[in-house]
């Protein structure tokens, strides 16, 4: 009996000490990476990781001194190899589960991303919800060190920029899982946000080190892909149009000219008059496809609910007719903007980044099977029809404009 108990105790100790903790990681053995940058350098893959130095959070007494992050780089033929390359240069294991942004250098993006993404999905630490950004005209590590925000960690600065897309949809927040969804669907090419390092005006003359304040980051615009290869960029306004068509609009402003029949048009010099800006409260888009003979018509219906934000025209918004006119002018502007964006994409790139192919697939699944291989050709020549309806539901605190 005693022997039995001893054996049992031995087994219990063995069970606990041998199987437990095999994947335990003490926090002071981990390097928490918040941003990963991917570049191709001399036919090798270069990974740059921004690793948080957690000590900055514990020593609250002296702030501002020293950097909050460290940058480490690894080179290899594959992503995995490059990650392992870091281990012999950096004391902590790169822990990627909190990695929220992946930045790809332009050169890498042009040569194709898909071969490098496998590891990001296969590894259990990587997040599928990580946002993707393309470093426009630069290497990924060149934009990573810039922090001109108030966040102490540069990664949070970038992450907050991405979150601000909700307020200003001139960029797009594509995460890696939606990138893959679009990659696999013939009817929807991926579109990814960009990030750019820009020189900024140094206004603060009191600060000693102007070096770090010289640059700021901007994520205005987007990068168009054909499958996994970067083929070009869209500017901010066109990206906004894309967001409208992808039903991504939750907020953001629309500025539009008001053409009064009797009064003069927009001035050609100086700041414009007779314009107004509204803030979108809710936008709803419905994409549709119509087949007319052998012609494909792309149709879009957009409903916008907006609040008046600024009015530089002699219009009285207590008057319902004037509001109608504002609404019509707003719809018109949106229509024109989106049409020009679609036309530009059709003519310059010929890739369906708007997801009309998906609408086609949903509506005509049988035809889709036949034409999906050359959907891009069809998309290129398709006619585009748009109908926008705006309703201004709030007019702000004053009725009459100050003008």
């Amino acid at each position: 009996m005693k022997k039995k108990i001893m054996v049992l105790i031995f087994y219990m100790i063995a069970v606990i000490s041998l199987t437990g903790c095999f994947d335990a990681n003490e926090l002071d053995e981990l390097g928490i990476s918040l941003i990963l940058g991917f570049d191709v350098v001399e036919d090798k893959l270069l990974i740059t990781a921004e690793v948080v130095d957690p000590q900055y959070s514990s020593s609250s007494s002296d702030t501002g001194e020293g950097s909050t992050v460290k940058y480490v780089q690894g080179i290899g033929n594959t992503v995995f190899e490059a990650f392992r390359d870091i281990t012999l240069k950096f004391d902590r294991r790169i822990y990627a589960a909190h990695n929220k942004v992946l930045i790809f250098g332009e050169e890498l993006a042009r040569s194709g991303l898909i071969t490098h993404i496998d590891q990001l999905f296969r590894d259990r630490e990587q997040r599928e919800s990580a946002f993707m950004l393309i470093a426009k005209g630069a290497r990924a590590y060149e934009v990573m060190g810039v922090n001109s925000g108030l966040e102490t960690v540069p990664a949070n600065y970038i992450l907050d920029l991405i979150k601000n897309i909700n307020n200003n949809p001139k960029s797009i927040d594509t995460n890696i899982i939606s990138y893959m969804q679009h990659y696999y669907h013939e009817g929807h090419h991926p579109i990814v946000g960009v990030i750019e390092k820009k020189r900024k005006n140094v206004i603060d003359k009191t600060s000693e080190d102007k070096g770090s304040e010289e640059y700021e980051l901007s994520i205005i615009g987007s990068a168009i892909f054909r499958k996994d290869k970067l083929i070009g960029y869209l500017n901010g306004n066109d990206t906004k149009a894309v967001n409208y068509l992808l039903n991504n609009i939750e907020n953001g402003i629309i500025t539009f000219p008001i053409f009064n029949s009797s009064e003069e048009k927009v001035q050609s010099e100086g700041l414009p008059t007779n314009v107004s800006s509204v803030n979108v409260i809710k936008g709803k888009t419905k994409n549709d496809i119509e087949i007319n003979g052998d012609k494909v018509i792309l149709k879009t219906k957009i409903n916008i609910r907006a609040a008046l934000g600024e009015l530089i025209a002699k219009t009285d918004v207590s008057n319902e007719e004037d509001i109608r006119r504002l609404e019509d002018a707003c719809s018109k502007t949106v229509e024109v903007n989106i049409e020009s964006a679609v036309k530009k994409v059709q003519q310059e790139y010929g890739t369906d980044i708007f997801g009309f192919g998906m609408a086609f697939h949903h509506k005509y699944p049988k035809q889709w099977e036949k034409i999906k291989e050359n959907w891009d050709e069809i998309f290129k020549d398709a006619e585009f029809q748009i109908e926008v309806k705006t309703s201004i539901i709030r007019t702000g605190l004053i009725n009459k404009p100050t003008i």
């Binding site: 002071d28 918040l34 948080v52």
Partner: protein
């Protein structure tokens, strides 16, 4: 039997008490030459009463031994016929009178000894509600309960337990409400107690409980008469033990641990809120350190980034692994608790300061312990005191959960949770399922479990306990 000759009786008694110094024999004679003898234990009786009502009366008046009972001027007199009985009476604080030539003796209850005042029990203080608590004297305790239940159906059944201690215990219940099966079972179990000594009700608890090996007690203990009254009114049975203010009630169910008498004295919303807070506290005090350790060690991806970074910042430079660190802190907490309890009050404050400073600040500043751990363990300690009835179980479970969390992550914590839950559900107290009304589920019981509904709507006593006379009151009109 009792000898006619006083001397024989005296010798026998002194012999029986082994010449113990506190055994007093007073021999005296009445004016009419009748020899008398009074035996008692020093300090057990009221000497003034003895002198006034017995000694003086007998000395002046007793002419014939047979008339002795007419001159004992108190009402609490018993005739006894054997010397063994006499010894027993003396041991229970009564005075025994012998008269020359009489084959019987009289025991007179003049008992009086020093008792603690009735005061608020420290472990069960309330803001609203009666502040009185039981004391060590069983007679006073019975009165305290009787004053809550002025009901002729409230029955006390006395018996004596313990070969050496001869402790009086008393089973109290309300006839017509108490669960008869439980009562029968309880009496059976008590009659089977063959203990040497009963120094506290804890002894009885261990003899009568259903699961002696369990970490959780299946017998409730309280120091407050209003709580005992409420429990009797739910069909339970109380066991009073002489010499301790702690009264046991059976059967026990788990949710009694999160109940407080105050829940019923305050507004129902607030009472329900308190219940929910206590449930939160119960879970936190058992699982918080374990879940924390598991998350920090195995599931860092589940912690929000900012929190993870600040936790990592705190861990920076801490020499111990997190599991050891947390367990060390838990043990230190227990040390502080225990020492501040045992030490004299004025030194106890010092311990508190030392504990707070040493454990809290200095350890963190020295980098031995991370700040998050300190916060967490203090939170655990706070929660633990919110459910005092379950503290003993909580401490053991907490250590187990922390260890499992440290070795196996959330998987270990989940296993611990399952094992604890299964154990709780498997328990029974005197045939009543311990986890009632959760398992087996009883909707009417749930009215008074996580929340406390309006008293008007608490129409039924707990159905599983009170099998007869289940309805407390008529349902409110319109319902």
């Amino acid at each position: 039997m009792i000898y006619k000759n006083i001397r024989d009786n005296k010798e026998y008694l002194i012999e029986s008490f082994n010449y113990s110094s506190d055994f007093v024999v007073v021999e005296f004679e009445s004016l009419f030459k009748i020899s008398l003898m009074a035996c008692y234990i020093e300090g057990f009786i009221d000497r003034d009463l003895f002198d006034r009502d017995i000694y003086r009366s007998l000395v002046f008046n007793l002419k014939k031994s047979d008339d002795i009972k007419y001159f004992i001027l108190t009402s609490k007199v018993n005739e006894i016929c054997t010397l063994e009985e006499a010894i027993d009476e003396i041991l229970h604080g009564r005075l025994v009178l012998f008269a020359e030539g009489l084959k019987k003796a009289y025991s007179v209850d003049l008992s009086k000894w020093d008792k603690r005042q009735v005061e608020q029990p420290q472990s069960e203080a309330v803001v609203r509600g009666p502040k009185e608590g039981f004391i060590e004297d069983i007679a006073v305790n019975k009165v305290l309960l009787r004053r809550k239940l002025r009901n002729s159906n409230l029955i006390f059944e006395d018996l004596q337990l313990g070969k050496q201690t001869r402790t009086t215990i008393s089973i109290a219940y309300i006839k017509g409400i108490a669960n008869q099966e439980v009562l029968k079972e309880l009496k059976g179990r008590i009659s089977r107690i063959n203990a040497d000594a009963i120094l506290e009700s804890g002894y009885i608890e261990e003899f009568i409980e259903d699961a002696p090996g369990s970490i959780l007690a299946t017998v409730t203990e309280t120091e407050k008469p209003d709580i005992v009254a409420a429990k009797l009114l739910e069909g339970r049975i109380a066991i009073f033990t002489d010499g301790t203010p702690h009264v046991l009630t059976v059967p026990r169910i788990l949710v009694e641990g999160i109940m407080s008498s105050e829940d019923y004295y305050v507004r129902p919303y607030f009472g329900s809120f308190l219940r929910l807070i206590r449930i939160l506290a119960l879970f936190m005090s058992i699982y918080l350190p374990g879940v924390f350790v598991a998350l920090i060690l195995y599931h860092q991806e589940m912690i929000p980034t900012v929190l993870l970074i600040s936790a990592a910042g705190g861990r920076e430079g801490v020499p111990l692994p997190i599991t050891i660190e947390v367990i060390l802190m838990i043990i230190t907490l227990e040390l502080t608790k225990e020492s501040s309890l045992r030490l004299p009050k004025n030194i106890g404050t010092t311990v508190n300061i030392v504990g707070a400073l040493v454990l809290g600040q200095a350890a963190v500043e020295a980098g031995l312990i991370s700040a998050v751990t300190v916060i967490l363990v203090s939170l655990t300690a706070l929660s633990e005191f919110i459910v005092p009835q379950l503290t003993q179980g909580i401490i053991v479970y907490r250590l187990v959960v922390t260890l499992l969390g440290g070795f196996f992550g959330i998987y270990g914590v989940t296993c611990a949770f399952l094992v604890i839950t299964m154990h709780v559900i498997s328990l029974e107290s005197f045939g009543i399922p311990f986890a009632w009304p959760l398992a087996p589920r009883d909707r009417s019981g749930l009215k008074d479990t996580f929340i406390r509904v309006h008293i008007k709507k608490l129409i039924y006593r707990p159905k599983v306990i009170a099998r007869q006379n289940v309805r407390r009151q008529r349902p409110p009109k319109g319902d």
